[in-house]
């Protein structure tokens, strides 16, 4: 099984490209932090504001004189972390809602699916903005993974997680609806397995492939969502950098200081593109109906 998946995946050139690029991006944002300290990324050398790329500042400096290269490194950490943590919440919620709805059916299904549909009916951007406004405000700084950064990161993670689980919930529900009719579920019940164990030990492992694919693509969406709200100034608060909030303010300098938006924009583009390629590759590799061996 594993070998077959790997062989199918390997033949997917774009997926390999995506995986390699992603690994490089991780090395960039984690390894880069070994070269520049975080204080450097947040240090505003005001006289040098809006310096074009040069040897001293390869990606130039921003509107208050901070080094763009160092900020893309630390911003990358936050952006990637937001992507993954938000998806973690998305996956937990999506699996929980989808599994309960699909497995129990009936009234449980009706209630959970109506909630899901209600959430889907609200435009996501609107939901993001309202929740960002609602939960934003004065947030203390937090320490996590050896860094100190704005607590708004956690808020953004929660907001993105809470607004993105619906599609995954539907996928999981559909999986459970069909998988629960399998004989092995009846056989498991006949040996005294509880509903909880049937859901999480028997049915869930059988539906892991679409969940992995959906979660992978979810990381890209979460990074984009963070970029949206940070661009609108409602996301992660400075001085903590993210690729998204580095774009905030760059719109005033589109032509005069293109390095402000070019580098974070390029990194977002590369990340999202790579993740999407990776997701496509995984989908084809994990799909049992795919004929390519």
């Amino acid at each position: 099984m594993g070998q077959l998946v790997w062989r199918r995946f390997r033949r997917h050139k774009m997926a390999i490209f995506g995986a390699v690029t992603l690994i490089l991006l991780f090395i960039y944002s984690i390894g880069g932090a070994l070269i520049f300290p975080e204080s450097y990324a947040n240090f505003a050398d005001t006289p040098l504001r809006l310096t074009a790329p040069n040897l001293q500042h390869p990606f130039g400096t921003d509107t208050i004189g901070r080094d763009v290269l160092a900020r893309t490194i630390y911003g990358g950490q936050i952006s990637l972390m937001i992507g993954m943590l938000a998806v973690l919440i998305e996956v937990v919620l999506g699996i929980l809602v989808g599994a309960l709805a699909g497995y129990y059916g009936g009234i449980v299904d009706s209630i959970l699916m109506r909630i899901t549909e209600a959430m889907l009916n609200i435009p996501e951007i609107f939901l993001l903005i309202v929740m960002a406004k609602f939960f934003g405000g004065e947030i203390p700084e937090v320490d996590l993974f050896g860094r100190t950064f704005s607590g708004s990161v956690i808020v953004i993670v929660l907001i993105i997680g809470l607004t993105s689980w619906m599609y995954l919930a539907r996928i999981v529900r559909a999986q459970f609806l069909s998988l629960k009719e399998n004989d092995f579920v009846l056989a498991a019940r006949a040996t005294g397995t509880s509903n909880f164990e049937i859901i999480f030990r028997h049915i869930l492992p059988n539906s892991i492939a679409p969940i992995i694919v959906s979660a992978t693509l979810g990381v890209a969406n979460a990074i984009l969502a963070e970029a949206y709200i940070s661009f609108l100034g409602l996301g992660v608060q400075p001085p903590t950098a993210t690729w998204g909030n580095m774009l905030d303010g760059a719109n005033n300098y589109l032509e005069s200081a293109p390095w402000l938006w070019f580098f974070p924009g390029l990194l977002i583009l590369l990340t999202v593109l790579s993740i999407n390629f990776l997701g496509d590759g995984l989908r084809d590799a994990l799909d049992p109906h795919s004929r390519a061996a």
Binding site: N182, L186, A187, R189, T191, G192, N206
Partner: protein
């Protein structure tokens, strides 16, 4: 009475579906003694499996409904137990083996884990002990190289091996009753014989009672002490196994026996099939359900369901007609 490990009284199960109500099981009663093997025979769709799933409370409710009846396991009515108590009992006291071993094992869990699960749930044993027991179980059901096979997935097992693994799973906790729901139907003939033999051997070792659902009268003679013949959700005949062959008292039993290939019959003679099909269970039954297909049918058969009439020790049949003479009682 005291010797009955399982006693089912007046069990009726229905399914409420869009087209109406399916009268799947209609007031059947039977009992099973300690260590006894009974066979339940009948065509597809006559309520054999539904009866067993009702007893184990494995039917989804709704659409299923157990309208009335009791299933007394060692004197306790299974229908009165909580879901929790029922979970504890399934697999530990009453285990079931299903028809199709290809689909009854979870494709993404190793065989060892699936067998070990029963032990883990019911016995709360340590990992190492579970592993040893699982290896021993695989050995007992005749799977070679059990230590290696433990980590294999179901697709690496052949059909016969999977059914052996299913049996190992069912027998892990040494249940006092094993319900085998056509466990050999999906297997080829030589494997069938091996599985039958295996269950018989293990049954003697563990002193289990077995309910063997089948539509193969050949298997019945080999394993069962008593036979229940089911038709359209009714038990139409219940008899010790030799009496069924010697002296069947219900036209349906006779027809089933006549449909069997026999070595002592002329080869050119055609096998007798039963004309027609089992009745539509969506209609509330009135009269004998076999009446429309019966050669000996009378007016009374069509309006009134015959009760089980005693023909000898442990031998009952539900027919208005004395099948040996063709005359009503």
């Amino acid at each position: 009475m005291a010797n009955h490990i399982l006693e089912v009284r007046d069990l009726s199960t229905r399914f409420h579906i869009a087209e109406g109500t399916v009268y799947a099981v209609n007031g059947i009663s039977f009992h099973l003694d300690h260590g006894e093997t009974i066979a339940v025979v009948g065509e597809s769709g006559c309520g054999k499996s539904v009866t067993m799933l009702s007893i184990l409370r494995l039917l989804p409710i709704p659409p299923a409904e157990i309208v009335r009846g009791q299933a007394l396991f060692l004197g306790r009515d299974l229908f009165d137990l909580s879901e929790r108590e029922m979970e504890n009992l399934r697999g530990r006291d009453i285990a079931m083996v299903f028809q199709d071993p290809m689909t009854s094992l979870n494709p993404v869990l190793t065989i060892g884990r699936q067998i070990g699960e029963t032990l883990r749930i019911h016995m709360g044993l340590e990992k190492e002990v579970i592993r040893e027991r699982t290896i021993k179980l695989l050995e007992q059901v005749g799977i070679p190289d059990p230590i290696q096979r433990l980590n294999d997935y179901p697709h690496q097992f052949s059909g016969g091996q999977r059914q052996r693994a299913m049996i190992a799973m069912a027998l892990a906790c040494q249940p006092s009753i094993l319900i085998a729901d056509e466990p050999t139907t999906a297997l080829d003939v030589t494997i069938q014989a091996q599985i039958v033999e295996l269950v018989q051997r293990l049954r003697e070792q563990m002193n289990m009672a077995v309910i063997w659902i089948t539509h193969d009268f050949g298997v019945v003679a080999e394993i069962a002490e008593r036979v229940l013949v089911m038709y359209a959700g009714y038990i139409v005949e219940s008899a010790p196994v030799d009496k069924v062959y010697e002296n069947p008292r219900h036209p349906y039993t006779m027809a089933l026996l006549a449909a069997l290939p026999r070595v002592d019959r002329r080869r050119s003679a055609r096998l007798r099939s039963i004309p027609g099909a089992p009745p539509n269970l969506l209609v509330e039954p009135t009269g004998c359900p076999f009446a429309v297909r019966c050669e000996l049918v009378t007016e009374r058969c069509r309006v009134e369901m015959p009760p089980l009439i005693l023909h000898g020790p442990n031998h009952q049949a539900a027919c208005w007609i004395d099948v040996s003479t063709g005359i009503p009682f």
